[in-house]
Symmetry: C2
Subunit: 690 residues, 2 copies
């Protein structure tokens, strides 16, 4: 925080406190029926204080406006982006005429087109390029599947309730807000206290319900809206629950992720792939999380589109044939060690991260590289994109390694893609619950000799000694692990008998040498049967799109300098429409030319729009800049037209017949605008843009 900003904030806090006590004084005077003159004087003083406060606020605003990192500036920037997005219907709060539902948003026409473009590129970049098996499974999911995956028991957030009104809050959010507020705004707290609060923030995700509850009590945190006391925190399952069929006896949930649909199909997909590993399956679809109280606008929603990949691989061989294609990429990485030691993310060559073991294996590294290429190709700023490794305490116990692609936005660093090596966990969980072995086979080119432990209880001898308990003793003997069995073998060989605890009997029995034969036998094995590991890149499409909006948005002055104009610098790949066609003035001849160009754009597969309104050409440019349309063709004669590029505002002049092919070549990425600029005569916009 800059010094002037710091002292202004301090002044602001002091002024606010003066206003509060002066307010109390006014109320006290009124209540005691003091003479009018005294009351008036107190009110005057109060108003003066308020004026002073407002002046400080303005100074503060000015002080931070040069500082892009200030929270005030971020807030203002976000407001500008979100206002533009909402006004141009990139998104619409769902069911708005019924006052909406928190955490549900519609994609309006341009937003829907951006989403289609992002998903089409995802399919191209991952599914087609890597020959993945795409599937499409239902959202409605029976309980047994999500019981196996652990979601029924563990997909929860800790919640507290306002004890009087019943309003629900996320317990960790309240504690987080309290700590942040204190640290940022309460200048009276000691350095010690501030350190304590910072520590609480750092360990927030690890706190148990009891610990969270204790902190809330200790700090006297109350319900934000009413100041009422809060209940103890308790877990709330985040899945939308429903019931399948009419009986009410088959509970189901709306899936919280698309991955489970792939795992339960592993056997069929493995077969489809010719029983060969590695292979990847992919799915794009809706997922649902019944958030307790959604915040952060478009970033934390109750229904969203996920695109997930499950790459199945032999746990003994996580190399990747195309790894070398990404090994030389260099980008911001934030390994565990740097985080713990308080350093920041730095540029690392991916190949180095893998070879040094920072990234667990080649396949995980390969996907990190592919995700980097995907995001930057969409238009995500590479300097505001980092790959952060999960800390040991963030990662599930079974995970081998996990990295999040985080994109910096006005809300801070946002997790947009998770790339995890989940080992064999998911397939094992469904194998256990369903009884269907989800395993792979590796046929050996020639059989391998292996040693196998053979425990052979001699039932006749055991029967004579143990009668009715014989069966339980046999089972206990057969259940011994290798070490127990070999210990017994050597004891029997040296002592002839041994005490053996049979837990189903709850007592020791004496086993004699004649009662069991323990040996190691050589056996030929023709194949290895194993549960594949799964490497899972999981993309939050809505979050990526929102961050893309922020990274693409900028404002510039109109030519006249009298207003700020909004622009989205979407690459053609992402832009909702690639091109607009404007007759310069309303005139039948120009409109006919516009229609001819429109037809050739349609034939070339370029999405576009004609705007024949009589609005000034400058206004029409501004309107399409705000939608992020990269090119505008302006018809100002019947033989040639101009093509304007959105960000440079540069214009070239081309023949009517060439217009569509020039735009196609640049939007398809076969040539660049620089090529077009070099090859065609330039057109000076003159007084055209206002």
């Amino acid at each position: 925080m800059a010094t002037s900003e710091y002292s202004l904030r301090r002044a602001l806090v002091e002024k606010q406190s003066s206003i509060e006590s002066q307010g109390n004084a006014v109320r006290a005077l009124k209540a005691s029926n003091a003479v009018k003159a005294d009351v008036d004087e107190a009110i005057e003083k109060l108003n003066a204080l308020k004026l002073e406060k407002s002046s400080i606020e303005k100074q503060l605003q000015a002080a931070v406006s040069g500082n892009p990192d200030s929270s005030v500036n971020k807030e203002a920037f976000r407001q500008a982006v979100v206002n533009t997005l909402e006004r141009r219907l990139f998104f619409i709060p769902s069911f708005k005429i019924y006052r909406g539902v928190a955490g549900l948003y519609d994609y309006g026409p341009p937003g829907c087109a951006v989403k289609s473009n992002v998903l089409a590129f995802w399919r191209q970049h991952f599914v087609l390029e890597e020959n993945m098996l795409e599937v499409d499974c239902p959202c409605v999911t029976p309980e047994v599947v999500l019981k196996a995956s652990g979601h029924v028991d563990k997909f929860t957030d800790l919640m507290v309730k306002d004890e009087k009104t019943g309003t629900c809050y996320r317990a960790d959010h309240l504690l987080k807000d309290f700590c942040n507020e204190k640290i940022q705004k309460d200048l009276s707290i000691s350095a010690e206290k501030a350190a304590e609060l910072k520590h609480v923030l750092a360990v927030l995700d690890d706190l148990s319900a009891e610990e969270l509850g204790a902190k809330i009590k200790e700090y006297g945190i109350t319900a934000p809206d009413t100041k009422n006391p809060l209940s103890d925190p308790y877990p709330f399952n985040l899945m939308f629950q429903t019931s399948i069929g009419p009986s009410g006896l088959s509970p189901g949930y709306m899936r919280p992720e698309t991955a489970q649909g792939i795992f339960v199909n592993f056997k069929d997909l493995y077969y489809y792939n010719g029983n060969k590993l590695p292979f990847a399956a992919a799915q794009i679809g809706q997922a649902f999380r019944n958030e307790i109280s959604p915040r952060q606008g478009l970033l934390r929603v109750r229904e969203f589109t996920l695109a997930e990949i499950e790459h199945f691989v032999d746990p003994d061989d996580k190399s990747h044939p195309k790894y070398s294609e990404v090994a030389d990429l260099e980008f911001l990485m934030f390994p565990r060690e740097q985080q713990v030691s308080g350093q920041s993310a730095k540029k690392i060559r991916l190949g180095e991260a893998v070879s040094k073991g920072i990234v667990n294996n080649e396949t995980l590294g390969y996907f990190i590289g592919r995700v980097y290429l995907f995001l930057t190709h969409l238009g995500i700023d590479k300097d505001r994109l980092r790959f952060r490794q999960h800390l040991a305490n963030e990662m599930a116990h079974y995970a081998a390694d996990c990295w999040d692609a985080e994109i910096e936005s006005s809300y801070g660093w946002i997790e947009c893609v998770g790339i995890a090596d989940r080992s064999a966990y998911d397939l094992r969980a469904h194998t256990d619950k369903s009884g269907v072995p989800l395993v792979a086979h590796e046929k050996f080119s020639e059989p391998k000799e292996v040693e196998e432990l053979v425990i052979a209880p001699v039932k006749k001898e055991l029967g004579l000694s143990f009668k009715g308990n014989q069966k339980k003793v046999v089972e206990a003997l057969e259940a011994m692990n290798e070490k127990e069995a070999l210990d017994m073998k050597s004891s029997l060989e040296t002592k002839g008998e041994v005490e053996f605890y049979v837990c189903t009997l709850g007592e020791n029995v004496t086993i004699k040498k004649s009662m069991v034969s323990i040996s190691k036998e050589k056996k030929k094995e023709h194949q290895r049967i194993f549960t594949p590991s799964v490497i899972e890149p999981s993309f939050g499409i809505g979050r990526i799109i929102y961050c893309l909006y922020e990274h693409s948005f900028y404002m510039r002055s109109s030519k006249a300098g009298d207003e700020q104009q909004n622009v989205f610098r979407f690459p053609p790949l992402v832009a909702p429409i690639k091109c607009t066609v404007f007759p310069l003035v309303q005139n039948q001849q120009y409109e006919d030319v516009a229609k001819i160009i429109s037809k050739s754009l349609t034939a070339a597969g370029i999405s576009h729009k004609i705007d024949i309104t009589g609005t000034s050409i400058g206004k029409r440019y501004a309107r399409t800049d705000e939608l992020g349309v990269p090119f505008a063709i302006t018809v100002d004669s019947t033989s040639s037209v101009t093509i304007r590029e959105r960000d440079s505002k540069d214009q070239i002049r081309v023949n009517v017949e060439e217009a569509a092919s020039v735009v196609k070549s640049v939007t398809d990425g076969h040539t660049t605008w620089a090529d077009a600029w070099a090859n065609f005569p330039h057109h000076s916009s003159g007084s055209v843009e206002d």
Copy 2:
């Protein structure tokens, strides 16, 4: 039914009845401890009867196998299609390893590709071609929206429960099955009875809960699985219910259609379209129906993809600018009148149907034509596609007209697209419930003069007479409709006073001439405000795809004649993969050529697959025919390769460098296979295909 088939069916029924009585005889003998020889003799007779029955069954099978309309044949055909679809993972019963959930299916890799292709073409054919506004709204929907639309109250099926086990059934299904079974299999029923049952089938959809219950009682219908008695029918709401947020106080549903998301956004979309009509909005997305007991496999499912269009139009002008482009199409139509008079669908020119008023208006006609083009372009057989008009009793009271695109499948004629003129119903319903006027404005080029009724109560006079009740009298006067006001005016003019009932007072008051002035005044209006009509084409994507599978499937003998091979004759637009590349034999040189061709196919954007397994080329062709892959490139030299077309099995020879561009040109539809056949040397497959 052919005569031989009829007599065979009758013989079958008789034989079955003999078997049942002989079975009873055997049981009776056993129960009475009869001598073994008697029992044996009875059993022998029973077995002989069973043998005879099986022989009749075989004759019947043979008799109907030449008859494609027979139900036995349809069943066998469907089984062949579904087996192929399931074996090649076009679809997978969802959560199969947990024994699945009725009515939920996954799209496996080729099915998912077909679905993507169908949706991409839908977007191209409707959204882009017509400049529709595409939106994307959540599935989770708050109750208030579906209360307004009528779904909470009326989206129900009538259900009966097995009174002992609690198993649920659709009441109309049980009655339908009973009637069909009787008509088809019980040859003892009288002609009168048969006619009665046929009548029940005809009016099935119109029966109330009481009427359905009465029929079930009358016919003694019991639970199919247990023969237990059934409960009375009662309505079951087909929406999956859930709860939004943690409080449990905000009920929500998984949307049963996507249309409501568009209606509630009408105001914003109208604004986005420059406040101009007509315009259309479109949405593709998941919809959910909690079917009581899903039957008909892939056709009646609990979660499905809908693609819906809401075309908003001035109710006074339902012309369409592009209507002439479809007016000359001629296809099977099945107007109301033909259905009622027992005729069948016949070919009608669309323009004639509209001009004769069979189809209500041009815009509705335009969409019927566009749907016809869409479906036939996908590969739906135009002779098994008809447009059936809703009967008066099928249509909602507000609908102006409604046509279903029905596709004939092994299940009969299946409704796949509904095209309805829903008038102003939906927008009015949401206007009423939300209080937000969802209306359009038509600005007049010059103001229009209209007469307006003006009721002006004279408050001073009314106050003198009615004191405290004055306000209620004023309100009652102002609330009069035109007729009431004009009646009062004439009474006051003739009699000077009139008795007037004020409902808020619950009594008559005397109104004198001085108390109110009633007049008609001329006024200038600058615009017309009205609720637009909506024309809604709604596509069941899964049903279309299933019918497409049936229409594309055929079997042919292998060259050796020793086995039946399955083929899907998908057009390239729909095919999950456009092309396969086969090195003829396993050999490094051929594989290298295959990789070069693969690269050029990727560059041309043609989805394809290389198959380098050592399997015989004939088997590899058969394998890809079964996936509906239209072209196969076989590498049999390093300079030239062959291209084989799936259905003709014809092969041409082209240079390696040309292969990708020839395939691209034919799959993109720029040229046809006939062109390629004419332009390139032919290759005789020789012994290549087995």
